[in-house]
Symmetry: C2
Subunit: 210 residues, 2 copies
DNA sequence: TAGTAGATGATAATATTTTCACAAACTTTG
DNA sequence: CAAAGTTTGTGAAAATATTATCATCTACTA
């Protein structure tokens, strides 16, 4: 279970997991890499290679047993237990993420929110308690939350990130355009919507038809 | 200007552009690849390589002229003119994107929104007119909008996508977990928040300290 | 004006990722 | 039960991407 798999593979795992969940719900029992490939739009050889990093999960001449695979992925992706996540910044995007039901198709939920505005602090929004952002470090530590989502202005995100790290954060999801500096043992995932949109537009203009 | 650059490079361009804008605003006139590297957290050799695909933009022994580079990137990234974008689906995430000021650091703006609910249709939300989603194809064609953002339920996104493509869409930003089927000349950018979060958690658990 | 520090651009080396293609292993069918 | 038909797992090749190195050029100093 501690095999070092390529990063590119790791990034595809959640997609595989979700597709398998769908198959499971549809009571489909087996799946071949080629059918799989079509659904998730990844080459079938890539899928087979990805899966093979974890051992021989399929049967030749048959395919993959959906439930087997799913159970396996559940463990790999930590979906066999609940992961609590904190959300910092309840602006528009923060609010939207609060409503966004991560828990619907993953075993992740936002269990604490933080904001700077008095009218928010100590209320409960969408079932999630809102704390003063001043108490970020302390609350993360107390509640043993290791994953933090930042939807705050870019100007303050580095300071808050530092506090989160002091509070024990190991993973940061950063919606600002500022690149964060963190210790080596902390992982940052950047989600920059403006960048994504610009990249899309760039590809439209320069890679027509590929 | 029609040079074929690697995809990996293309994905970094918006980040470079944004950083350069910041330098420009701070009235900084020159920048070296090593300083650049530190700010955007990309190896300096990679930055030099990326930039050199477009020709010799820097001066040896000196660095890069910020304003030069910025002008260059403006053209490359289509930031020298406004790009109008449509937003389909005004749920929580859609509303948040409507408020999200893409235009603040890019020359992109949402100029039309679409929803299925009567109480939304024909209103103006955050300065953007809201149309009936039934008229998606027609409106895209009339308004010559080529980029569409989908924040709708996964169950309906493929149908809407087909209509958008019929309406002339060339780029799709897809916030659902469904992988879209589109003609080869249409580009899809998937932004799957649940996946990103799961990937982050996976890396925390399995790649500690790298 | 000569010497030096500092920086690019280009090339080479390395690393990572994807794809091809096929033997081996399994299922299904008659 | 044997033959036919599938589909995996994987070695090898190809394609992409990153990093290292260095000759060469610029700016600056004295």
């Amino acid at each position: 279970m501690d095999i070092k798999i390529p990063r590119a593979t790791a990034k595809r795992l959640p997609m595989y997991y979700r597709y398998l969940s769908g198959l499971h719900d549809a009571k489909i029992k087996r799946i071949s890499s080629s059918t799989f490939a079509e659904a998730v739009q990844v080459d079938s050889a890539t899928i087979r290679r990805d899966l093979s990093y974890f051992g021989a999960l399929g049967k030749r001449g048959y395919g993959y047993e959906v439930d087997n695979l799913l159970d396996f992925f559940k463990k790999i992706l930590n979906q066999d237990h609940l992961t609590n996540v904190a959300l910092v910044g309840l602006g528009n995007l923060g609010q939207a993420l609060l409503h966004f039901n991560f828990h619907k198709d993953s075993n992740v939920r936002i269990s604490a929110a933080f904001d700077i505005h008095d009218d928010m602090i100590n209320t409960v929004q969408s079932g999630v308690p809102v704390y003063d952002v001043k108490d970020l470090q302390e609350q993360l530590r107390d509640q043993q939350i290791e994953v933090v989502i930042f939807t705050v202005p870019a100007t303050v995100v580095q300071d808050l990130c530092d506090e989160a790290v002091n509070g024990g954060a190991k993973g940061i999801m950063n919606f600002t355009s500022k690149r964060l500096s963190v210790p080596k043992n902390v992982r940052v995932q950047n989600v920059d919507l403006t960048n994504e949109l610009q990249t899309l537009i760039y590809f439209i203009e320069h890679y027509e038809g590929e």
